[in-house]
């Protein structure tokens, strides 16, 4: 697909080299990844303006682009015609890092100019590879226990250990598993953001868990024992007589594991929901009526 490099830099076709330099510098300051962390749109924009500058700041590339840009699929003819002119000049323009990976140029660019071979005054400098960002979806039970998981990031399989108690939205860094370093520089890091789905029965807030327990009217009034599910098994609870609807109890250390604090847990809060009996028999209705009268 044809890319309008002039439009990307906000320039007309008659722009001078100085105009290109100024426009590029202005946009690079706006969209540089260092100034826009975790902003995918800014990164995409930055790659586009880098590519636009790579072409327009190099007179030879610009000429080829101006001549064949819209008809780029026939650019090979230009190559053949231009062979006698010798090798093309290298770019005079400066190319900013942060998007220094060759693979970040568009198919359009690669078709016209081949792979990027490095340009600019800082091309021999060792650069750290790009940081990768990935998102991992877990359910609440997955996050409850430390476990290992294999991920595929950019075609490579990585086995990571996910500590119990990881929070929704939390990001962990896997050093050295990002993009490859440039000119022998160190690899970037991999950042994994966790997205933890809500559990149908348990709500989590920090390390505490919240749930509701249905209580029949008779147990609520008279007291008794109930069995309740927690995330790591069942517990038996003693219900006090005359328990009110909506009353809460706390089970200490039955909540969520505390991240990277083995053996420590939050609390589990249980809200009682008293269920009023339905489909009463005639006899039961009479008994309730009697009970009602005894109150007045």
């Amino acid at each position: 697909m044809f890319i309008d490099y002039y439009k990307i830099l906000g320039l007309s076709k008659s722009a001078t080299q100085q105009d290109i330099k100024n426009a590029y510098r202005k946009l690079a300051r706006k969209y540089h990844p260092d100034l826009n962390p975790n902003d995918k749109d800014a990164k995409t924009n930055f790659q586009q303006i880098n590519e636009a500058n790579e072409v327009l700041s190099d007179p030879e590339k610009r000429k080829k682009y101006d001549q064949y840009g819209k008809d780029w699929q026939h650019a090979e003819e230009f190559e053949k015609a231009g062979q006698h002119r010798g090798q093309s000049a290298s770019s005079d323009g400066q190319r900013f890092s942060g998007a220094q990976n060759d693979r970040e140029f568009s198919d359009f660019f690669e078709s016209m100019f081949g792979s990027f071979e490095g340009a600019g005054r800082r091309s021999q400098i060792k650069y750290r590879g790009e940081d990768y960002h990935a998102e991992l979806h877990l359910n609440l039970l997955d996050a409850y226990e430390t476990h290992k998981q294999t991920l595929t990031v950019n075609g490579k399989k990585i086995r990571i250990s996910i500590p119990a108690g990881i929070e929704n939205g939390q990001t962990i860094k896997i050093p050295g598993h990002g993009g490859q370093g440039i000119n022998g520089g160190p690899n970037g890091d991999l950042y994994i953001a966790f997205s933890i789905a809500n559990h149908p029965k348990f709500k989590r807030l920090g390390n505490n868990l919240y749930t509701t327990a249905d209580l029949d009217l008779y147990t609520a009034v008279l007291g008794g024992d109930i069995t309740l599910d927690t995330l790591n098994g069942k517990v038996k609870l003693k219900v006090e007589p005359e328990t009110q609807n909506g009353s809460k109890i706390k089970l200490k250390n039955k909540g969520f594991p505390v991240y990277k604090n083995k053996g420590q847990f939050g609390d589990l809060y249980i809200t009682y929901e008293i269920k009023i009996p339905t489909n009463l028999t005639k006899k039961q209705k009479e008994l309730f009526s009697e009970l009602s009268k005894s109150q007045s």
Binding site: R29, D34, P37, F96, G98, R122, K203, R204
Partner: protein, 96 residues
């Protein structure tokens, strides 16, 4: 234990003056460890330092500008973390 990178090696690799590193130390943007008068950069500061080098040499942002940007980026990070916490809370109430 932390790996220390000799400041002169870092400067040679990045084509920058050692005085630039000293300026960063003076403004408090990075901390350098000195051993027998030779400056060393703790590995944990490397990423931040490389970012500063890019901002200074490539985007022509002066040290005052970098200080401001660093401060604002820290604020952005804190706000993003706060948004995550608030979203989690909101999810809890929306689910009830």
């Amino acid at each position: 234990m932390e790996n220390l990178i000799p400041a002169n090696v870092f400067c040679a690799n990045h084509n920058i003056e050692i005085s630039f590193i000293s300026s960063l130390q003076e403004t408090g943007l990075i901390n350098i460890t000195y051993i027998e008068e030779a400056g060393y950069i703790p590995e944990s500061q490397l990423q931040q330092l490389e970012k500063i080098v890019r901002l200074y040499y490539e985007l022509d942002i002066n040290l005052e500008g970098i200080e401001t940007i660093t401060h604002l980026l820290q604020r952005v990070n804190l706000l993003q973390e706060e948004i995550t916490v608030l979203k989690n809370r909101l999810r809890l109430y929306e689910a009830i």
